[in-house]
């Protein structure tokens, strides 16, 4: 075990904040347990507990963001405990710049989702399931052990199933079953792939079994190229369903439409990111050679998803389904940038994940408030809302423009970098994908026109304006949307080192393959040489040290 000991020692020097991730992770669980022991007749107390624990996660994640070493490409706040020693399964947590962003996103959006919506019955189980969902997602983003990740990934399905089935609208049982079966079946493939990888990789001590992510990524000597490509596919299908990538997307509109507001917000903002995050941290990091092999396929599917999702969104008659299909389109940008496999594209991809979480989370919150007032999502039932509720319309407009990708708001930066990175790697894909921005304007503005413009019909005359509580909930999101559009540097500078390390990792495992960077003209001065020629080794210190320990 000396190698692994070294590994954790190597991390410690980075900071003394090793307790931070376990604390963040434990908070929702503690909240859930407390709620279980609270009387059912005290819904206000239950809500307070839920609010406090989710606020605690958000604050903790904010602290982590603050103390995070910006220049360090490796894993930070790493902690590890043995779980199943015989198989070297560990309860190992840690974040890179990439996963840190998603932890932060989870903390912020789960808190606002609780703030912005209330269940109409059975508060107790509702909040328990919400908190379990947050726990599972946080765990999946923090995990540095493939087995732990798998457990958390699977765990996230259960609470969402319960939330849709128990508190949803309309055909909620159908939607919940579809979601559960579809995502569960897909992850069975991942389970098989994971076991085959762990058994055959010989990456552990003395060539034994291990589930340690970094060891598997750097020391997997027993995996042939062909096997690696198959295993990649096993993981990728599970993530493609979760993302969702065309043509595995049809569970999403149903799940979104029938889910309660908080469920929709968490689903769009956080759960979908498990898919793209998985593609990044498990598919690309564990199988860098297979990633270059499968990249054209995944790029093609994302381009189809971007254009197709937008076109189908335009024809929906239910407002929530429009936003659901827009997620198919937007998540396509995340996968697109990722499989450009260059620094610009992957940074764009991570930004798309964060920005989509914020903008679509905000859209679902607003739609939830719309439903609370009118008990419908049908566009034909709504008209002239801007006249009766200018605040509501104003908030919706900003979020919508962010979602369309208007520069100056957050959505643009990620999409642009994603497309730019893709252009460098596969130009025609980027040119076609960019048409998605035209259709995005079409479906959202058209829906906006039908719902918010035009004369106020009788049924919408009494539409109440946003309450102060709701304003307090949406204003921080709008502030984030503007801030990250004008000044995304705080995110980019934390993401960049990890992304560079990942790209270097891919280069290392692909002989003669290099990241696509622009041709540089002699004479055109470029003021961008920050730290070229540094030593971007494996993605994490743990992997490096593990290798030395052998």
């Amino acid at each position: 075990m000396s190698g692994l000991l070294l590994a954790s020692e190597g991390i410690e020097h980075a900071s003394d904040n090793s307790a931070i991730l376990p604390i963040i992770l434990a908070l929702p669980l503690v909240g859930a347990v407390l709620i279980l022991f609270t009387a059912k007749a005290r819904p206000d107390l239950i809500r307070t507990i839920a609010l406090t624990s989710t606020a605690g996660v958000a604050a903790g994640a904010g602290y982590a963001l603050y103390v995070f070493e910006t220049e360090d490409p490796g894993v930070q706040f790493y902690v590890s405990r043995n779980w199943v020693q015989a198989l070297d399964i560990k309860f190992a947590l840690g974040v890179t710049g990439i996963s840190l962003m998603l932890v932060m996103l989870t903390g912020a959006l789960c808190f606002l989702a609780v703030c912005g919506s209330k269940p109409d019955h059975d508060e107790k189980p509702y909040y328990v399931w919400l908190l379990v969902l947050e726990f599972a997602c946080l765990g999946a983003f923090m995990a540095r052990d493939v087995f732990l990740f798998f457990v958390m990934f699977e765990l996230s399905i259960v609470p969402l199933y319960m939330l849709i089935g128990g508190w949803g609208h309309g055909r909620r049982v159908y939607a919940a079953n579809k979601f559960f079966l579809y995502t569960l079946l897909a992850s069975v493939l991942m389970l098989v792939a994971m076991v085959v990888l762990a058994v055959n990789a010989h990456a552990g001590l003395n060539g034994g079994i291990t589930f340690d992510l970094d060891l598997l990524a750097n020391n997997a000597t027993g995996i042939s190229t062909a096997l690696g490509r198959w295993l990649f596919l096993g993981f990728a299908i599970a993530f493609a369903v979760k993302t969702p990538l065309f043509p595995f997307h049809t569970w999403l509109p149903d799940a979104h439409t029938e889910a309660p507001t908080a469920g929709s917000v968490d689903l769009a903002a956080v759960v979908l990111k498990l898919g793209t995050f998985g593609l990044l941290q498990y598919c690309v990091y564990l199988f860098p050679e297979a990633a270059t092999f499968w990249a054209p396929t995944l790029l093609t599917l994302s381009v189809i998803g971007i254009v197709y999702g937008a076109a189908v969104a335009a024809m929906q008659k239910n407002f929530k389904r429009i936003v659901a299909y827009s997620s198919v389109s937007h998540m396509g940008f995340a996968v697109l940038g990722l499989f450009a496999l260059n620094t610009i594209g992957i940074e764009g991809s991570v930004l798309v994940m964060v920005n989509h979480g914020i903008a679509t989370g905000a859209l679902f919150l607003l739609l939830g408030w719309l439903y609370k007032r009118r008990h419908t999502y049908e566009i034909s039932e709504l008209s002239g809302l801007q006249k009766v509720a200018p605040w509501f319309a104003g908030a919706f407009t900003v979020v919508m423009l962010a979602s369309i990708g208007v520069p100056g708001l957050n959505g643009f930066v990620g999409e642009f970098l994603s497309l730019l990175g893709t252009f460098l790697a596969a130009r025609w894909w980027a040119v076609v994908a960019a048409t998605g921005v035209i259709i995005a304007a079409l479906y959202l503005l058209w829906a906006y026109q039908r719902v918010f413009h035009g004369p106020v019909t009788e049924a919408n005359k009494g539409f109440p304006e946003l309450s102060w509580g709701e304003r307090a909930c949406i204003v921080p999101l709008i502030a984030l949307i503007v801030f990250l559009g004008v000044y995304p540097t705080p995110l980019l500078e934390r993401i960049q080192p990890s992304v560079k390390a990942l790209v270097a990792h891919v280069e290392q495992h692909n002989d003669g393959w290099h990241e696509d960077v622009p041709e540089r003209q002699p004479g055109t001065e470029i003021a961008t040489e920050h730290d070229e020629g540094g030593t971007p080794a494996g993605q994490s210190g743990a992997g490096e040290h593990g290798a030395e320990g052998e």
């Binding site: 801007q386 035009g454 540097t489 041709e519 002699p522 055109t524």
Partner: protein, 675 residues
């Protein structure tokens, strides 16, 4: 210098933020005064920057403020590029902008959303200033999208009417087609140059692949065609007149729509380095747009629609100038056009205001008596755009035509097209003036269309006697156009009135500018101040001034003046006198309907386009989701079959076990016996 340059856009932004937070509290008219003051202050600062720029090396000032997007080898800063071209743009944007803000205080009087209107206007000015001051393509794109978004807000400002809301959406989406081109151009530019900074891109494009430069220029041109309403993407601009008239003047005439021309002028070294056919494409698109739009303007009934098509046409002239390499002339015409077109729009707004929202010229006439200031200032605008010397439009338009002529080859054809369009321009503006300000008081005899009703329908529904009287006064009441929204509702007793001082003062200032603007640059050595001022911006464009004789210049000027006078006289002979048959002959329904181009596009989008999208939605529901559910159904069906075995009867299981044992026994026995 860095601070004062930053102040130029920050002042309107401050106005926007204050109005966002306290707009309602400020209310009317203080919200308007605040917004006006912010833009006027920005203009004063810009004047200071202009004077400061004279001291700078080569009159250029560049400054990076902060890092906007750093990602890998990609990096874009928020930075300013102040050079003779951008400061000229800034001066006329803030100058005309503050006049239009002042005007809007009077025009928007009594509107319940008064503060919100000025909020959008200030945000617009901010975005426009970012567009022209940005020192890289991405920052220009930020402003580009910002002005587009404000334009969307302002076109659909009176969103209760579905037509206005549709017009806003149409403008945004049509522009998005152009934005796609802009984005692809940025990808190629980064791929080629490794940066999006103007300084680096424009420094020396001769060393890079000509194909790449050609693609960049063409894709940016796609963007410019969208923003500046050229063929084939011009359809959004006439509809954009649904917005309040100050918006039409500021955004859809003077500033935003010229952004495409600005962009083309900014990248002039790239146009010079692109394939040699690229400038001709630009010139031809411009010339044909100028001609087609002018021909449509000749048959419009809505006073703002005439001016809208006129704007499309004048923008075409600017692209013609860009295409023949006369970049400074494009900017020159942009400035004079901003003067006289803003004036014309504001005048039309004053007319509409005085006529209580009536926009149909068939219901106007004899208004000179009721609103003399509006009438006189609008006539200044008329003579300026018609190209009557020595007003501003004469100098800039003839400079463009002269440059086209000097280009030779295809240039002669372009010159001919431009001259025909100039003749039409003089004609349709004369028609507008005489229909509006002279003749009889037609609103007293013509019918009032109800909401959604066309004039032709209202006319057909009249009593026979009244109909004859109306036909005698106005010969073309039976012409119907699509779409033709009716706004006005004044009846025969209505008395038009002149506008308030907040509206007339900008009219007077702008008419002085429209008269004198041309003297910025006269085509004579020593008097071409504006040309000399802009010269350094375009010295890397690869265009070299040919030797041209003074005689040719004078001949072209005389021809230009003669064409303008001919157009005006012809217009007068038709519309200044009672000449119903000629009047009708000059208004073919096809031209009035914009040669049916817009209608065909709309039908296509509503027909095959929607059908395709619906087919995709059907495919998603039936095939893709059907496959998923099919797997589920298949599994259930399979389990139904399997289930038959699980009956729960012990005797059945016993039978099964017994049968199985027999088979096994038989198998084992056969093996044993055979061996």
């Amino acid at each position: 210098m860095a601070l004062s340059v930053a102040l130029i856009p920050l002042l309107p932004l401050t106005g926007f933020v204050i109005l966002l937070l306290f707009g309602k509290q400020l209310g009317e008219p203080w919200a308007g005064w605040l917004a006006t003051a912010m833009v006027a202050a920005s203009f004063l600062v810009a004047c200071g920057v202009f004077i400061g720029l004279l001291d700078q090396h080569e009159n250029v000032f560049v400054h990076d403020y902060f890092e906007w997007i750093p990602a890998g080898s990609f990096r874009v800063d928020v930075g300013a590029l102040v050079d003779p071209m951008s400061i000229s743009m800034v001066l006329f944007i803030t100058g005309i902008g503050s006049l239009i803000h002042l005007y809007a205080i009077g025009y928007m009087h009594g509107d319940p959303k008064f503060p919100k209107f000025f909020l959008y206007l200030n945000l617009f000015v901010f975005s426009m200033l970012i567009l022209v001051l940005g020192n890289n393509l991405l920052l220009t794109f930020l402003g580009w999208e910002g002005v587009g978004t404000c334009s969307y807000f302002l076109i659909s400002f009176w969103f209760d009417d579905p037509a206005n809301a549709s017009a806003g959406k149409k403008a945004f989406i049509t522009n998005r087609v152009g934005d796609w081109g802009f984005m692809v151009a940025m990808f190629v530019a980064f791929f080629t140059f490794g940066t999006l900074n103007y300084e680096a891109i424009l420094a020396d494009p001769s060393g890079v692949s000509q194909t790449a430069v050609t693609v960049i220029v063409l894709m940016l041109f796609v963007g410019a065609v969208g923003k500046s309403a050229q063929i084939p993407l011009y359809i959004w601009l006439p509809d954009a007149m649904a917005g309040p008239t100050p918006v039409s003047a500021l955004i859809h005439a003077a500033t935003m729509v010229t952004a495409g021309v600005y962009l083309m002028c900014r990248i002039n070294p790239l146009i010079g380095a692109a394939d040699s056919w690229v400038p001709w494409v630009i010139a031809w698109v411009g010339a044909i747009t100028a001609l087609v739009a002018a021909s449509i303007a000749c048959s419009q009934m809505d006073i703002k629609k005439v001016l809208a098509f006129s704007t499309v046409s004048q923008l075409g002239y600017m692209f013609l100038a860009v295409g023949v390499g006369a970049y400074w002339v494009a900017i020159f015409h942009m400035v004079t056009h901003a003067f006289f077109k803003a004036l014309l729009f504001l005048d039309s707004g004053s007319v509409i205001h005085g006529m209580h929202d009536e926009q149909d010229m068939r219901r106007m006439g004899a208004l000179k008596r009721f609103m003399p200031i509006t009438a006189i200032t609008m006539m200044v605008g008329w003579l300026a755009i018609a190209g009557i010397p020595p007003l501003s439009g004469f100098w800039s338009k003839d400079e463009i035509l002269g440059k086209a002529f000097e280009a030779g080859g295809q240039g002669y054809a372009l010159y001919a097209i431009g001259t025909v369009a100039a003749l039409m321009t003089a004609y349709y503006m004369t028609r507008l003036i005489f229909r509006t300000f002279y003749g009889g008081e037609n609103w007293r005899v013509t019918p009032v269309p109800e909401h959604g009703q066309t004039m032709a329908a209202a006319f057909a529904a009249m009593e026979p006697e009244a109909r004859d009287a109306a036909r005698d006064a106005v010969p073309d009441l039976d012409l119907a156009f699509t779409p033709e929204p009716a706004h006005g509702h004044i009846d025969a007793e209505y008395e038009p009135h002149e506008s308030v001082w907040q509206m007339t003062v900008p009219l007077i200032v702008l008419s002085v500018l429209a008269i004198t603007g041309g003297f910025l640059s006269l085509p004579f050595e020593g008097l071409n101040f504006f040309e000399k001022w802009l010269e350094p911006v375009f010295e890397r464009s690869g265009v070299h001034e040919g030797e041209h004789s003074m005689a040719l210049v004078v001949i072209l000027l005389v021809v230009g003046a003669a064409v303008a006078v001919a157009g005006v006289l012809f217009g007068y002979s038709v519309w200044g006198k009672k000449n119903p048959s000629t009047q009708r002959a000059l208004e073919p329904a096809a031209a009035g309907n914009g040669w049916y181009y817009d209608i065909v596009i709309t039908r296509f989008m509503g027909g095959p386009g929607e059908l395709l999208f619906n087919a995709l939605a059907w495919f998603d529901r039936t095939i893709i989701d059907g496959a998923v559910n099919g797997v589920g159904v298949g599994l259930v069906a399979a389990s139904q079959v399997m289930r038959r075995g699980q009956t729960g009867y012990v005797r059945r299981y016993a039978l099964g076990i017994g049968f199985g044992t027999l088979v096994l026994l038989g198998f084992v026995l056969s093996k044993v016996l055979v061996s």
